[in-house]
């Protein structure tokens, strides 16, 4: 019998609704797991046990009183520490905001709360969500639960480590260049970056106005579907948020991929890929074929343009956001962050505007050529075997460490420029025992199709059910 902390989100929520288990029992299981693993993985920045226990007791009392409850009633959750919750810390993983306590609550956490969930911790993250590895000078590096000297992926490092370790049933991450998909891949969990504008960003720490996305990391596509159904949709507090209707993502999980064309790029995404990653990708494609998908090898257009443009947008926007602190408190940033921000100030405005102005035309041309032939794209999430924290430590490593650091996110960034939905799901392990991720991307607002493919894959595999060695047996 599985431990309560190892249940999936939907399983846990359904068990509470049936009154098979109490919210208090789930919370205590999560807290016990946290106490067992956190000295190794360092997944949290703060934990609020008292307020969480009160919320759990209230959830149990509501059920006992026969009240109508939401789809996440009584579920304890922990999120990347950049989601504003009135009266609670929100460090953004930084020394600069170590004492910041917002007076508003972000839309997405409010929506989860409206569905009955409650938060019990703020999770470790890259400083201001700006590295792909999980290094953090202010609160300590986050460690991979599968093999602690290795990176967790970032920037939602604590989210990946905590979901994998059974500390939380789901976690909100953010994704500007891969920050949901990278820790999902590295930690062996499932995450989805929705279409740009799909989910409100009101009350969420900004990094890049044009490329920031909010999305879940969970243990399965079904769990992602539950969270996305609750958080997606128009928000009067976020004028950039789409009015596109939100489908029932869980209803789309039929397991049927018959006739679905899945494209595998031949000219990008595998250029620096290593053999174990390629083998895992090819094995995953066979599983998808077994579900009825048709695999199509194809060349992707415009990759040089996408590569050029994606390099400037978030960098220029982050530089602008951080300019005052870079003038006054540069030493309070980690070296890798202030170093990256610094170059952003030299990007010409004309380059930045060109990258933004070309985004629509490039998306239209890309979609016409690619999605005229296939429904989805499949690639490795991270093309290489995972590096260690030491190998990617810009702050203390030799010159040249930057290249290894930046290579981690080479396969995720293009979909941020294009604004396309993209998920990562575990599909194997590398020789060091670290998870390998399968990235599935689709048309704008095709989250249901993306999740259907991942769910179908997970019906025939058990990579997503495996638990890391750090979890007590």
């Amino acid at each position: 019998m599985r431990a309560l902390a190892d249940l999936g989100l939907v399983e846990a929520a359904d068990a509470v609704a049936r009154r098979d288990v109490t919210s208090t029992a789930l919370l205590e299981a999560c807290l016990a797991r946290l106490d067992a693993v956190n000295k190794i993985v360092n997944a949290t920045i703060w934990v609020d046990r008292d307020r969480a226990r009160a919320a759990a007791a209230a959830a149990d009392a509501a059920l006992a009183a026969g009240k109508q409850v939401g789809r996440l009633h009584g579920i304890p959750l922990a999120h990347k520490d950049m989601y504003y919750q009135a009266g609670r810390p929100c460090t953004c993983g930084s020394a600069i905001r170590r004492d910041f306590v917002p007076d508003i609550t972000c839309t997405v956490v409010q929506r989860l709360s409206d569905a009955g969930a409650y938060s019990f911790a703020g999770l470790n993250m890259a400083e201001f969500a700006q590295n792909p590895t999980g290094h953090n000078r202010a609160f300590g590096d986050c460690h991979n639960p599968w093999n602690p000297p290795y990176i967790t992926g970032g920037s939602s490092s604590g989210s990946g480590a905590a979901v994998a370790s059974g500390v939380t049933y789901a976690s909100l991450g953010s994704d500007t260049g891969g920050s949901i998909r990278l820790p999902a891949s590295a930690c062996g969990v499932t995450g989805i970056k929705p279409t740009q504008t799909r989910v409100s960003r009101y009350g969420v720490m900004p990094l890049s106005f044009s490329a920031d996305n909010v999305g879940p990391l969970t243990r399965s596509a079904r769990d992602c579907a539950r969270v996305l159904s609750l958080i997606a949709g128009t928000d009067p507090n976020d004028p950039t948020c789409s009015r596109e209707p939100v489908p029932d993502y869980e209803a789309a999980l039929t397991g049927d991929l018959r006739g679905m064309h899945i494209g595998v790029p031949t000219n990008a995404f595998t250029n620096i890929a290593e053999a174990p990653v390629i083998e895992a990708l090819e094995a995953a494609l066979k599983v998808l074929e077994g579900r009825g998908a048709i695999i199509v090898r194809l060349e992707l257009p415009l990759m040089k343009a996408i590569s050029a443009y994606v390099a400037v947008i978030s960098r220029a926007e982050a530089a602008a956001i951080h300019s005052q602190w870079m003038r006054e408190r540069a030493a309070d940033y980690a070296v890798h962050l202030s170093a990256r921000l610094y170059g952003g100030y030299a990007i010409p405005a004309a380059y930045y505007v060109e990258a933004l102005a070309r985004r629509g035309p490039v998306l239209k041309a890309f979609a016409a050529e690619v999605f005229g032939k296939v429904d989805l794209l499949a690639t490795p999430t991270i093309p290489t075997c995972l590096p260690t924290l030491a190998e990617t430590d810009i702050d203390h490593g030799p010159p040249g460490t930057e290249q290894k650091f930046m290579a981690v996110s080479i396969n995720t960034r293009p979909f941020n420029y294009l604004g396309l939905p993209a998920a990562s799901a575990p599909c194997g392990f590398d020789p060091n025992g670290l998870p390998i991720g399968l990235q599935i991307a689709g048309r704008p607002f095709a989250e249901a199709r993306v999740l259907r493919a991942v769910d179908a894959y997970q019906r025939d595999t058990d990579w997503h059910r495996q638990r890391p060695p750090v979890v007590p047996r």
Partner: protein, 63 residues
């Protein structure tokens, strides 16, 4: 003036920010690759292109 010196001078003049560390200088030097990448796509921008077309493109390209 070489690329790094020019870059440092521009950042200091336009933003009042100096290199915080050696890694910042190395990454600033790497901006030359950004210039090269833009050189490779010169001529792509059309006179009528503008950023607001992106949201319209998301709608136009959806399922």
């Amino acid at each position: 003036m070489d690329f790094l010196a020019t870059t440092e001078a521009a950042i200091a003049a336009w933003h009042g920010i100096t290199p915080p560390n050696d890694a910042a200088r190395r990454l600033a030097t790497d901006l030359a690759s950004t210039v090269a990448a833009f050189e490779a796509v010169r001529g792509s921008l059309r006179f009528e292109d503008e950023p607001s077309s992106f949201e319209a493109a998301l709608q136009e390209c959806k399922e």
